[in-house]
């Protein structure tokens, strides 16, 4: 099997379940090592996000978490929440996602002893550790795919895939690969959310 980045023989196979379907990204030894555990900047993406989209700039455009500023499109892109409060902000539509991932949509397991102290509808929690608004930290430039056009071509998607692999965003990579496969196959739709 060929590496999705450089066409060498793939030896590392990253498998993700997306919308209940398995998607695999294949990497050769060199590409996986080059982007592997030696990367000290494991948080690079999030910080690139934060520096290019400070929380305050989202507010007008689309639904965003009051506590941390995380937006619906970021959720769709990363497939992860920004903070615990995001589960309240993005609660609508979450049940469908959870139903596809789990056995149910209601927790049946352990309950912390302290849970009795948490009110039914707690007010939004302000972050104990808010981000500084004035001076964003020096960060690498945002990855180009953040400004990608709405309907990217296969070539653009391949470029995004390479970036995703380089930055270890394997879930994005899996979604991109799936999208490329789909475009290659037949009609194109928007990429599925990462899970």
């Amino acid at each position: 099997m060929k590496c999705d980045v450089c066409e060498n023989e793939a030896t590392v196979f990253l498998t993700q379940i997306i919308n209940g379907q398995m998607t695999t990204v294949n990497l050769c030894d060199a590409c996986s090592k080059a982007k592997g555990v030696t990367d000290e900047a494991g948080f690079g993406l999030a910080e690139a996000f934060l520096s290019s989209h400070p929380p305050s700039s989202h507010a007008a455009a689309e639904p965003a978490c009051e506590a941390c500023g995380f937006t619906a499109s970021q959720l769709k892109k990363i497939g992860r929440m920004g903070c615990p409060e995001c589960y309240n902000t993005f609660r609508e539509g979450l049940d469908n996602l959870l139903r596809a991932m789990h056995k149910g949509t209601t927790h049946k397991g352990k309950v912390p002893a302290r849970a009795a102290l948490i009110p039914d509808n707690p007010p939004p929690v302000k972050l104990l550790s808010p981000p500084p608004r004035t001076e964003p930290p020096a960060q690498p430039p945002p990855p180009p795919q953040l400004q990608a056009p709405a309907k990217p071509t296969v070539a653009q998607l391949r470029e995004q895939l390479e970036n995703a692999v380089r930055e270890e965003r394997y879930e994005d990579a899996a979604a991109l690969k799936k999208e490329i496969d789909r475009l290659n196959d037949a009609a194109s739709t928007t990429p599925p959310p990462s899970t």
Binding site: M81, C83, P84, K110, P137
Partner: protein, 372 residues
């Protein structure tokens, strides 16, 4: 406790003991937990991760289970040390890829490790030898309750423990079992077994988790669903499946001995010969040959071969373990030479495969060659 002291004392789960340890190497349970009022690590800035770390680390280090512990901040730890911890499954590959604002605290016996600022604020992991998920769950459950009494967890009555990724929400629990399945692989039954496991909602992965190859016939089997079921029920369901796979593997081993003894003796004998006498061993070759040797030891084809010796060797020959022992960074070629050297030393006192009993009944095909 310093790193050297930790690493020089192998944990009991590394030494081939525990229920069904001929087929099940380890059982692990990890819990994903987060604190209210802090963004998840993947969406936080360094100063936010540091705030959480400064709040949480003293609490984690103060746990009774961590009375004697090794604690390391990722701002200062070396790459090789991190990799050694990954090879021991004490930290995840994902956590090892991170730097400042992260830390890991490991108990002296290496049964419990708590990663701070992994994908979630806490990943609490318990490891037990053999098939013993219940015991691993009891350990992490207890530790979790102690942490919860001291720190404000993010918990929702309907959704349970809130995690960075919705795939972990609910119990936040991943229970996984590392299995050694050489006979199912040799008899080409492994793929149907893996497929069947996948169909009932469990994940099958290679030695080092997601996306890694199943080297050395080692497979990790774990739950994928975390919401809508109780922890005990998830664990009971996995154990039931694992017990069935254990039976399949044991039956396949006996069938190999009955129907294909010559092939089995040949494979085990060749594995022993290469491991005992070679001077260059790649990681892949060593893992696959050690798998055959472990099979030979389990079936008493190799007299007085202790499974624990092989399981420890499996760790010792990993790249970072080799480099830590050498005290310097080694090229892959240098590692292959050192890997062979350690393997020869460790297997030095083994007698080698016993001569098999002469086949009874119809003679097995010998490929037209005359016996030595």
């Amino acid at each position: 406790m310093n790193f050297k002291t930790l690493i020089n004392h192998p944990a009991d789960w590394m030494q081939g003991s525990g229920p069904h340890s001929d087929v099940v190497m380890t059982s692990r349970v990890r819990l994903a937990r987060n604190l209210r009022g802090f963004p998840f690590p993947g969406y936080s800035q360094e100063h936010q991760r540091l705030d959480l770390l400064n709040l949480a680390r003293p609490v984690v280090e103060g746990l009774p289970e961590m009375a004697e512990h090794y604690s390391e901040d990722y701002a200062t730890i070396s790459k090789i040390k991190k990799q050694v911890l990954v090879e021991r499954h004490l930290v995840s590959r994902e956590h090892a890829a991170r730097a400042a604002g992260c830390a890991v605290v490991i108990d002296a016996r290496q049964n419990l490790s708590i990663m701070i600022n992994e994908e979630d604020h806490f990943r609490i992991q318990g490891i037990r030898p053999g098939l013993n998920l219940r015991s691993a769950w009891q350990l992490v459950d207890h530790v979790d309750s102690e942490l919860e009494a001291r720190l404000p967890y993010a918990f929702d009555r309907e959704l349970g423990y809130l995690t960075a990724c919705p795939t972990n929400v609910g119990t936040g629990m991943r229970a996984s079992v590392m299995m050694h399945l050489p006979a199912l692989a040799l008899t080409e039954q492994i793929n149907p077994v893996i497929k069947a496991i996948g169909k009932i909602g469990l994940a099958v992965r290679g030695l080092y988790g997601e996306g890694t190859e199943a080297l050395g016939n080692l497979f990790q089997i774990s739950n994928q669903h975390t919401l809508g079921e109780r922890e005990e029920d998830i664990i009971a369901a996995i154990e039931k499946v694992i017990e069935r796979v254990v039976n399949n593997e044991v039956n396949a081993r006996h069938k190999l001995l009955e129907d294909n003894a010559t092939m089995l003796h040949d494979q085990v004998g060749r594995a022993f010969a290469i491991l005992r006498y070679s001077h260059v061993l790649t990681s892949k070759e060593a893992l696959n040959l050690l798998s055959l040797l472990r099979l030979g030891a389990d079936l008493d084809l190799i007299p007085d071969c202790d499974r624990g010796l092989l399981d420890l060797l499996l760790l010792e020959i990993q790249p970072a373990h080799l480099q830590m022992r050498a005290g310097i960074e080694l090229s892959p070629e240098e590692r292959d030479v050192r890997r062979a050297q350690i393997t020869r030393t460790r297997l030095h006192d083994l007698k080698g495969p016993a001569e098999p009993p002469p086949p009874s009944g119809p003679a097995e095909p010998t490929g037209g060659e005359s016996p030595p």
